[in-house]
Amino acid sequence: MDFLTNVVGILLGGLSAGTVLFIVSVGPSVHMGLMGFINLAHGAFAMFGGYVIVLAMNRAHVPFIAALALGFVATAALSVVLERTLYRRLYRAGELDQVLFTIGLIFIFIACAILVVGPESQTLQLPAELGGQLNLGFMQYRTYSIFLIVVGLLIAIGISLVFERTRIGAQIRATVDNRRMTESLGIDVDRLFTITFAFGSGMAGIGGGLGAEFLGLDPQYGLKYLVYFLIAVSVGGLGSLIGVYYAALILGVLDFVLKLYLPKGGTMFLYALTILLLLWRPQGLFGRKET
């Protein structure tokens, strides 16, 4: 019984961390799959959303759910502006320029966060109903972790329904498969890019806010977790929703287990595993083979 409780505890902790990773990475993955655009800055968007959410709650005392909505809208709005003015100029540029551009964006976000909010770390004050412990029947566990896992699952199901069942989902799938053919059919691919980018960035913003409780939130956020976000995207496979979900959850659980049992050098195994996996399947777990 004790062993079982342990295992379930580790699983739940890892899954909740993985869920945050998923919420941050799902949008960029779809966008990268659509565009073939290398975007290193999605951690910065997550940070922006996180700041909006945390500051709205701590300073303006906005309720939790409303703050999340606000974070989503603000991040999506910012990303639309950036996409329309800057990103789209680089869709046809080389990978090098895209990497350079998004690294530059990270630096700008860091500096702005320091200038506007300050260099100190922000903490998320959970609402009372999410702060306690939840009785699972055979054990107690943190309500917030359970809440995160459920929310992540709902988001994954929601997005996959949109992907599979709606017109815009079909258009996105078609564009990932064959962009030129889709354009020839008269589908406004440009508009599709903007919508997915805005939605994805908004999700990343929510992820930044939801994860602030245990990942922390400081100006270096976009750089600190850059490798994790990128691992989730590349291991999952570009443009693959299910892939990112599984990759993020596996990454979360593995990271949790390794940090618990191998506090020194646990991350080393994570990197080694990523390398091996990417060598075995360069397109990621669920990605399509490059043509």
Binding site: L100, F107, A272, T274, L278, Q283
Partner: protein
């Protein structure tokens, strides 16, 4: 038949007289503007004796950026993990000197180059099958893996604190490294950079270098004409790694310490920025970029760290959007416009 034969030898010479052909035939020759950077480096030694420590760091960064230029600028291998080789070289020199196995500087650099080349060859053999984001991730993870290993092997590498107070014997047994006055360090770094530069310059103007540019520009066509693309890339990556290892070894020797920052993402990103800022795929891009970046950082970052980060970010975005070939590319465009305007009337 006999009527055509006298014309035949004439045809190639006529082709060589063509300005385009002339440009190709003479492109490897030394130009007048190649002397000033080196003269400036020598003049710096006499003009700013108080800044020679900074100067040595600058020369090391140039060498590091030059090594990246070979892989990224010429062969088009997008890597964010070049600090892996810098660190491999730095730790080779550092550990050999710290445990008093090898303290002689030039031999140390050779060993650093060998160690980094080994890492480059082994990782290149497997990594260079991939492209795009996957390649980027693999280089990043390789570097992170090395950094974690160095952190883990605390008993040998000193972990986070690194190995301080390295004992490096005098260069050629005569010129001693003085921690207070960096005269020897500066000239030593300059000499190493010069030798490496001549090597890189020869390499990129060779047929091998040309094939690298071909691979960068059009992979499919290079495959179609039967070039051994993967092997060329692996060899290039290995050479680039060896040069980065020399830069790392140089860094460890001139600073007399080595720590985990040698393997940092920060260092890899910085050298990436330096190269792009100066202009990649151009021999002197590394020089211009390193001077511009380090001078700005040295004087701005310590006074206004946040403004420095903001300015750097804006600069990178502007370069990515408008000046794809960096400062040198910008200069070339302006120069072409100037000569066109002068030539027009």
């Amino acid at each position: 038949m006999s009527a055509a034969s006298p014309a035949e030898p004439a045809a190639p010479s006529a082709a060589i007289d063509h300005p385009g052909a002339q440009a190709l035939v003479t492109r490897h020759r030394l130009r007048w503007w190649e002397a000033p950077p080196w003269l400036a480096a020598l003049a710096f030694y006499f003009a700013y004796p108080a800044y020679l420590g900074f100067g040595a760091e600058l020369l090391t960064t140039i060498l590091f950026a030059l090594s990246l230029d070979l892989a990224l600028g010429y062969a088009g291998i997008i890597t964010l993990g070049h600090a892996a080789f810098f660190g491999a070289g730095a730790y080779t020199v550092g550990m050999l000197a710290y445990y008093e196995i090898w303290n002689e500087p030039l031999g140390g650099l050779a060993l650093a180059a060998l160690a980094a080349a080994a890492v480059g060859l082994l990782s290149g053999l497997v990594l260079l099958r991939t492209r795009g984001l996957t390649l980027l991730m693999l280089t990043l993870c390789t570097m992170a893996l090395l950094q974690e290993s160095a952190n883990m092997a605390r008993a040998y590498t000193g972990g986070f604190d690194g190995l301080p107070g390295l004992n490096i014997t005098p260069v050629f047994g005569v010129f001693e490294f003085n921690p207070l006055y960096a005269n020897t360090q500066y000239l030593y770094a300059l000499g190493v950079l010069f030798v490496c530069f001549v090597f890189v310059r020869t390499l990129i103007y060779s047929p091998f270098g040309q094939s690298l540019t071909g691979i960068r520009e059009n992979l499919l066509r290079m495959r179609a004409i039967g070039a051994p693309v993967r092997w060329r890339l692996v060899v290039c990556y290995t050479i680039s790694a060896a040069l980065a290892g020399i830069a790392g070894g140089l860094w460890a020797q001139t600073n007399a310490y080595v720590n985990l920052s040698a393997l940092d993402l920060d260092r890899a990103a910085t050298v990436f920025i330096v190269l792009i800022l100066g202009g990649y795929g151009r021999l002197y891009g590394a020089f211009i970029g390193a001077v511009a970046y380090l001078a700005l950082e040295h004087f701005l970052a310590k006074v206004y760290p946040t403004a420095w980060q903001l300015g750097l970010g804006l600069l990178l975005v502007l370069i990515a959007l408008f000046a794809r070939n960096g400062i040198i590319g910008l200069g070339e465009t302006l120069w072409r416009r100037y000569t066109a305007r002068r030539g027009a009337p």
